[in-house]
């Protein structure tokens, strides 16, 4: 039995083991992002995800998440790019509910969609989704056409507008190509958690395998109300929010 996961039947099915065999289309594994087989094999029996509790998360913590990502992945020190040209893998968003006036702050990054429009439109397969749900750009295949940026509903991608110096060894980037949040795949594949998640001291942001009934994220999602941003687009995002 195969089943794709969406928010509504997540709660229903995740208690059963059927989730384990959920099928996910496309399965290219990149050598540069290859999982460390001993620690954490890349398989479609997993689906990495994140749950952000906006009621618990403070603005200071969100800023901390952004700097942690910059530190880890080496973006944000571009010298020539101005304003909208600067890469932004994750940003702080402040939204106000028009009806209630409630103001919420949240971190917005690539939502690691199960049906990623960026992957659908990419002409060269540079945009790809791993078996475990992490959406990446293979920077050796990316021709810099920016069609994926046009297609992403979450403004999650950045184009590198200038020559880069001082890059992180585990996160090669390059002028003229597109990049976005990798869910810190280099850490996850070695059993770690994404830098932004690790930077938050409380349990306001949790990371884990959405399919694993024993995981904290799975169990929390069963208990609390959560939502996807633009759930109406049916992209079944891996990043979920509660309190919005």
């Amino acid at each position: 039995m195969s089943k794709t996961l969406n928010r509504r039947d997540f709660i229903k099915t995740s208690s059963a083991t059927t989730v384990g065999v959920a099928t996910i289309a496309s399965g290219i594994t990149l050598t540069s992002f290859a999982a460390n087989a001993n620690e954490n094999p890349v398989t479609n029996e997993k689906r990495w995800g994140m749950l952000v509790d906006t009621n618990k998360l403070t603005e200071v913590e969100i800023d901390g998440m952004v700097s942690a990502c910059q530190q880890e992945n080496g973006w944000g020190s571009e010298v020539h790019s101005t304003g909208d040209q600067k890469p932004t893998w994750v940003k702080k968003l402040k939204v106000k509910d028009k009806a209630t006036g409630k103001i919420t702050s949240l971190p917005l990054m690539c939502q690691h969609c199960e049906e990623p429009p960026c992957v659908d439109v990419c002409p060269t397969n540079a945009s790809m989704k791993r078996e475990d749900g992490i959406v990446l750009v293979d920077r050796h295949l990316c021709i810099g056409c920016r069609y994926c940026m046009m297609a992403c509903p979450y403004d999650a991608r950045s184009f590198v507008h200038e020559e880069l110096t001082d890059q992180r060894e585990h996160m090669p980037r390059g002028k003229g190509t597109v990049e976005s949040c990798t869910l810190c795949v280099h850490k996850v594949d070695n059993g770690g958690t994404p830098a932004c998640v690790a930077s938050v001291n409380s349990d306001a942001v949790i990371f884990g395998d959405l399919y694993d009934p024993k995981s904290n994220i799975n169990q929390t999602l069963k208990k609390v109300q959560s939502a996807q941003i633009r759930a109406d687009l049916d992209l079944n995002t891996g990043v979920r929010y509660s309190g919005i």
């Binding site: 509910d97 028009k98 060269t124 920016r146 992403c152 509903p153 403004d155 184009f159 003229g176 687009l233």
Partner: protein, 399 residues
């Protein structure tokens, strides 16, 4: 009467001046590309919000026009209209030249144009972009074969079959170009089924405008006779196409206005979008639509070639403006990230974009490439009938 085709002489001062002028524009474009690629796109007006700027405006304009320029040949071979037959070779040539110019601009604006080979070898068949690459390449092949059948007497009898193939291919190609936008679900500006047919009708108008200008200029400069029968027929066809574009534009915008979820972007373009609103009304509608129609249909200007030339030119300028509004205006308006909520910080607002000079130079260079290709090829191959006087082109024409 048999039509005789002949190469142009191409020895006059004017010819060399034209080649030199276009050459300068092309060199300027290449210089601009070197500058942009060397530094990176930060030297352009583009950003992470406006990811497709001026180069895409020109590139898509030329690609759309290219498929439309083939119409003249299609009318001759598919719809068996004799008057258009002598024009078929030029029509195929203009189509190929415009496509080459458009593709050049598109490729040179990539972040990594050096990886063109990747785009040619790695295909994601789910991507409409990848399909477009196949459609463009196929268009070159099919139109080249079509031209060969027209040139080669032994092959003449296959002309209409090849013409039909080329005609079908071009319809698919323009649909494909229009569909680039159809897949952008999250962008309100492109959320309309009418995009693809609108692109087809735009291609009819832009392609024919290019064709008329090139035809009139080449006959004037080579001092070959060009009768009113041909020119007037093309002129009234152009009028019909422009009217059709206006109709589609009206349907698209009115339809969107009544669709609650797209009302925001519609109001933006039509009423309070600042530069985009001005470009829409003054540029696209008045300059690129109403004035050309007046120039074509006003009784006092019937058969006036300067008026027709001006109308064609304005249609082209209006076409560039139209694509600017679609491409840049559509991105400038923010996506709806949180329906029902207001974004106070972090995203939103109208994205700023000021086209930089190198971007414009690259776009203009694409037009120059198309024109230089036509200029040189009519010199080396017999594309142009030596006469298109009324008694040659249309023996039954009464003036």
């Amino acid at each position: 009467m048999n039509i005789r085709y002949e190469e142009t002489q191409g020895r006059s001062l004017g010819f060399y001046a034209l080649i030199a002028g276009l050459g300068v524009l092309i060199l300027a474009a290449l210089g601009a590309v070197y500058y942009m690629e060397h530094h990176g796109h930060y030297v352009t007006g583009m950003s992470n919000r406006i990811v497709w700027g001026m180069p895409h405006v020109f590139a898509l304009f030329l690609i759309v026009a290219a498929s439309g320029a083939l119409n003249v040949a299609s009318i001759a071979s598919v719809f068996q209209k004799k008057l258009y037959k002598p024009l078929s070779r030029l029509s195929g040539l203009v189509a190929l030249a415009l496509l080459a110019g458009g593709l050049m601009v598109l490729v040179l604006d990539l972040g990594r144009p050096d990886r063109l080979i990747v785009a040619m070898t790695e295909y994601n068949f789910k991507s409409i972009f990848a399909w477009n690459i196949i459609l463009y390449n196929g268009f070159f092949v099919i139109v080249a074969v079509y031209l060969w059948m027209m040139f080669e007497r032994r092959m003449n009898r296959f002309t209409s079959k090849a013409g039909l193939a080329a005609f079908s291919w071009r319809l698919i190609l323009t649909t494909g170009t229009g569909s680039i936008f159809g897949f952008l679900v999250a962008r309100q500006a492109y959320d309309a089924v009418i995009m693809a047919p609108m692109f087809i009708i735009m291609s009819f108008a832009f392609g024919l405008a290019f064709f008329i200008l090139i035809l009139m200029a080449s006959y004037k400069w080579t001092e070959r006779p060009l009768g009113d029968a041909v020119v007037n027929r093309l002129g009234s066809l152009l009028g019909v196409f422009v009217a059709a574009v206006m109709y589609f534009v009206a349907v698209k915008h009115l339809g969107n206005l009544y669709l609650a979820e797209n009302a925001g972007v519609e109001n933006f373009i039509l009423f309070d979008g600042g530069i985009y609103t001005q470009l829409f009304w003054y540029g696209q509608i008045i300059l690129g639509g109403l004035i050309p129609m007046a120039l074509i249909y006003h009784p006092a200007l019937r058969g006036n070639r300067s008026a027709l030339g001006l109308a064609s030119l304005l249609i082209l300028i209006g076409g560039v403006i139209q694509l600017y509004i679609i491409i840049v205006g559509g991105q400038a308006y923010p996506m709806e990230l949180f329906p029902g909520k207001e974004i106070l910080e972090g995203y939103g607002g109208i994205a700023a974009y000021t086209p930089s000079l190198p971007e414009i130079m690259l776009g203009v260079g694409g037009i120059a490439v198309a024109l230089i290709a036509v200029t040189l090829l009519v010199k080396f191959l017999p594309f142009l009938p030596e006469s298109l006087a009324d008694e040659v082109a249309d023996p039954h024409h009464k003036s």
